[in-house]
Symmetry: C2
Subunit: 326 residues, 2 copies
């Protein structure tokens, strides 16, 4: 059983996933590129290679875990957190810990072996966004869970174990450190100015136009002023909502359009760019927060993160966002 532990100084939680433990000799200093598996567990026809599906978009006359689907959600075969059990919160001296309870699911975004979401049709991408929302809502019913993290890894450098268009959802019994930081920072701004900092950023960026990438009725995409990484992108909904789950039908359409444009243009700039994207949303328990604004963050994985960037949260970036947006 994995264990969650909280650093008593930074209040940052860590999962100890001892089931995936390695002996020292198993660490490779530079991982070799794995060969493409001959039978791909995500391709249509190989449904038996994954755990049974949780949800699928499939033809009416097809049965679960057989061909006929175009989006499929399955439990992660090697989950970071497990769904079964109690949290078992406990303390030893100054340390706090709990069991590694949560959910870890894979969203297989197409039945054929395609590498990137932007090569899918507009309609497919909309459906993927609906799946994000539906899995988030479904898992919200479980009182053990505090936060839902939706993310995508594209390319091995970005952590993808398969070159196949897919996303993941991890649902955690604690609020991640970064989310707490964003909540604290935006709350501080709200207390001072009575306004949402994300709305203010969006407005200032729309005025200056320097760092805007694409915009439509529902969303604005930009390279953030203090980007940590070259070609980093933030996609913000124009309508203030703290929670991704509130997304409307027209927003889903507009998000699909802008996400496809952002990723397509990024890949055009840097062919085969490895990247992560993450949905930043408020924790489950919070209702409507005036100070927080959900958004999607795209992080190209182009540079090795250095020494003191790691240790100090003091990053060096080689590309100005207004150049990246240019």
């Amino acid at each position: 059983m994995a264990e969650l532990r909280k650093d008593p100084i930074l209040e940052r939680w860590v999962v100890f996933s001892t089931e995936r433990a390695k002996r020292p000799s198993e660490f490779l200093v530079e991982k070799a590129e794995k060969k493409q598996e001959i039978r791909c567990p995500f391709c249509e026809g190989n449904e038996g290679m994954t755990p049974p599906e949780i949800l699928s978009y499939r033809k009416d006359d097809s049965r679960p875990n057989t061909p006929g689907w175009w989006i499929r959600v399955v439990p992660n075969k090697y989950p970071a957190l497990r769904i079964e059990g109690e949290l078992n919160k406990r303390q030893r001296g100054i340390y706090n810990m709990m069991d590694g309870i949560g959910a870890h699911e894979v969203i297989i975004e197409c039945p054929q072996h395609l590498e990137d979401i932007f090569s899918l049709d507009q309609k497919n991408i909309e459906e993927i966004i609906w799946v994000y929302r539906d899995r988030m809502r479904d898992l919200a019913k479980d009182p053990r869970f505090e936060y839902a993290l939706i993310f995508k890894n594209k390319g091995r450098i970005a952590g993808a174990s398969l070159n196949y268009s897919h996303s993941q959802i991890i649902v955690t019994p604690v609020v991640p450190k970064r989310t707490e930081e964003e909540l604290a920072g935006s709350n501080k701004y709200f207390t001072l100015k009575g306004k949402c900092v994300f709305c203010d950023i969006m407005n200032q960026e729309l005025d200056s136009k320097e760092r805007i990438l694409w915009e439509n009725e529902g969303f604005v995409s930009l390279c953030p002023f203090a980007s940590r990484f070259p070609y980093e992108i933030t996609i913000l909904p124009r309508q203030h909502h703290c929670n991704f789950e509130t997304i409307t039908e027209s927003e889903v359409k507009n998000l699909a359009v802008i996400l496809r444009k952002c990723l397509g243009s990024l890949d055009k700039t840097i062919p085969n760019v490895p990247y992560n994207y993450l949905v930043h949303t408020s924790p489950y328990a919070r209702a409507s927060l005036g100070y927080y604004h959900w958004h999607l963050e795209i992080i190209p994985r182009l540079t090795r993160v250095a020494d003191f960037e790691w240790g100090m949260g003091f990053y060096i970036n080689q590309v100005l966002p207004e150049e990246a947006a240019g």
Copy 2:
């Protein structure tokens, strides 16, 4: 001129070092291993290949920037921050920025081509620690500077551009985010309990012995309870001081002993382990802080940092610290 920018949400500073800018086509998705340069700029005899030295430990009859030294401090040839100029703090709407002023120096730890500090003599390591202190103290005199970060990169994966025992010091005009977080977290604990959280950690670890690596009169080394990475190590001085600069002669001796043991045993466990170490100390302007305790952090670079670890500050570690310490 590089520019520093503060993220208005997280209050995290970023350096924009546009002089080292790359065009998109220059990014390599996986960096190839560089060949060893034929003439090494750090080796004795090649002093002309570095900028003029700032400090050296050398034979009395030798002149600066010639052979005869055994430790040498030079400006970084490609500095992240530059020493010349004013901070030029300014604001544009909700954004704050300043010029990229600071210091960035390299400490060449031996005159011959050795790869790791633990292969040096005890006496050499003591002198390296004295150099850390002296450079920190000297740069503290500049009122533009807020923080001194001393760190080491060992191995290319850990960011070292040369396989040669060396450290770096970066002095910044802002306090790094991680330091602010540590200060805030430890201050909160102090307010609640009237005690230093680092002292409490050390005492609890010395009681349980589960995660202790080595200890001596001056220092305790341990694998932290909520380690983010396999085989992560913290070295804490027994004596409570917020600032590394207060290190005493006997502490220098004891730190040299324990640092050598920690790095030597780590390398024995995982041969040729790439790692970073960082000195965490209080900012220049703060006097004696009851709640903060300087320490040295060793981060082996064994695993690729994943997707949501990046984005969320929610890490997955595959090795328990008590096993790492075992």
